[in-house]
Symmetry: C2
Subunit: 340 residues, 2 copies
Amino acid sequence: MDLQDKKVVLHDMSLRDGMHAKRHQISLEQMADIATGLDEAGMPLIEVTHGDGLGGASVNYGFPAHSDEEYLQAVVPRMKQAKISALLLPGIGTVDHLKMARDCGVSTIRVATHCTEADVSQQHIGLAAKLGLDTVGFLMMAHMATPEKLLEQARLMVDYGANCIYVTDSAGYMLPAEVSQKIGLLRAELPVALGFHGHHNLGLGIANSLAAIEAGATRIDGSVAGLGAGAGNTPLEVLCAVLSRMGADTGIDLYRIMDVAEDLVVPIMDQPIRVDRDALTLGYAGVYSSFLLFAKRAEAKYGVSARDILVELGRRGTVGGQEDMIEDLALTMAKQQGLK
Amino acid sequence: MDLQDKKVVLHDMSLRDGMHAKRHQISLEQMADIATGLDEAGMPLIEVTHGDGLGGASVNYGFPAHSDEEYLQAVVPRMKQAKISALLLPGIGTVDHLKMARDCGVSTIRVATHCTEADVSQQHIGLAAKLGLDTVGFLMMAHMATPEKLLEQARLMVDYGANCIYVTDSAGYMLPAEVSQKIGLLRAELPVALGFHGHHNLGLGIANSLAAIEAGATRIDGSVAGLGAGAGNTPLEVLCAVLSRMGADTGIDLYRIMDVAEDLVVPIMDQPIRVDRDALTLGYAGVYSSFLLFAKRAEAKYGVSARDILVELGRRGTVGGQEDMIEDLALTMAKQQGLK
């Protein structure tokens, strides 16, 4: 793979996906310090939003220490070169949230949907594009759709106005060959920029990012020090080191971003970010993290291995919101295994 | 990459490379518990030796809680299916150590040298082969030799009697393409089994192992929970999950090895195994870990960045034992940079 002088735009998630790992309790000062450090290191794009996107503050998704507006107002004016992005999940974030983010100086809006539900993004992508924002369609749990289905969904987002489409490995399930195949098809068929967002559940965040770049993605997400839920995101300072070794052009000062990771991000972690048993299980099964608790409860009740339940849920393509099926599945498996 | 039904022999390093991370203070009970867990999970090969190999117990390399003989006697008789290996570095371990290991029931001897010094392995490889042991030549810091040089050195070890040759990425510096190239050349030219030993400094332990398997390696080293110095080794339970997803045949029960990692190995860690700043620096520069302290001292004295010093040492191919050159280099760099 020859990445010599290849331009790659890195996008930091530590202040958005990292909000999950911090149960949304990052202080304004921490947020501003980390963003400033990233800005000085040359990071071109930094996402600042509730972990579940604009408007996520709620009983369901967790109340953050500060509102999206407060975080954005604390960060945006301090940036010398970095642009700030906000994530928006239709159904959680609204057009008013989007306008608020624009008014705060956000330059990139990423509208995220499940990989087969791009049609719910029309209004928000349309508005973001109309407002002249860098508008990204973000297809989550992308391992759950075939390349052809992803392409169909990506086309919808492009038609709505997106100028960039992301393949998002929300579960940290994808293997490099799958990343290559999916990004490769989108690259061949779409006239817009492509991005890849990886999680590290199978220890493949770096390798998948390289596969994505090779297949034509030019934007790559990661988190400084990997800060994110579970196994975390692709660790961005490690990816920077690898890209530097390969001669790619990220515009980032490697030592500075290493120092942001070690001196600013690691010290605020509530626990080490690592591929622990739960994170590995979720990545292996390819399921929503919300399934884990239900599967463990079903294991306690029916004696069927929670891991077997999760793998079967992954095989069946069960999606978020279908958690009530988990107990039914566990009961069926228990009967098959002679446990009930 | 198609690994369906491909046989891969995994080799656990947690009780040898892991000795570094534990400053050689693993108790006999911990060692026996972890080895028993690995045996029950189906791990075919487990290395049990001082971190620096047989005879490592010393002021220089650290005194372990117990002797190699005590560790081996605590582990070998408990194994139901796993074979035990011992590492031997000529100059540290002797033929008497080798015979002791054989007498304790070790079935595999791995004779390790710097990648350009295979000629010092003749006596030990010859003896191990003569004793009928599975005899492995282990070429360390393999990123510091060209593929052709590695082949030449591997041929020496094969001529001495090795039935398996390892490409060992001691510094965690190699990128997948380099692994493919080096293993590929050895596979094309040598009549023996090949192995790969990876470290996780650049977050590429899993990806490099996959590249090695694709290029023809059939033995792959890793450590449960990554237990090893610095960023640790390729995390073995994560590699197992990935290989399982790809359909490879490792003979290992994935859930059991995940449980060994989480329930037995993580609890004995003195600190989390992660790609911290120092580990990333070493992997990026491709130098011996012993250089780190010298470079930091030189930074304090001459004002030249320790990281720049290490990268330059890597570029020059400086090897262990040349630590006295570090101060000279720092002084030269300080003059060039107008600091002195």
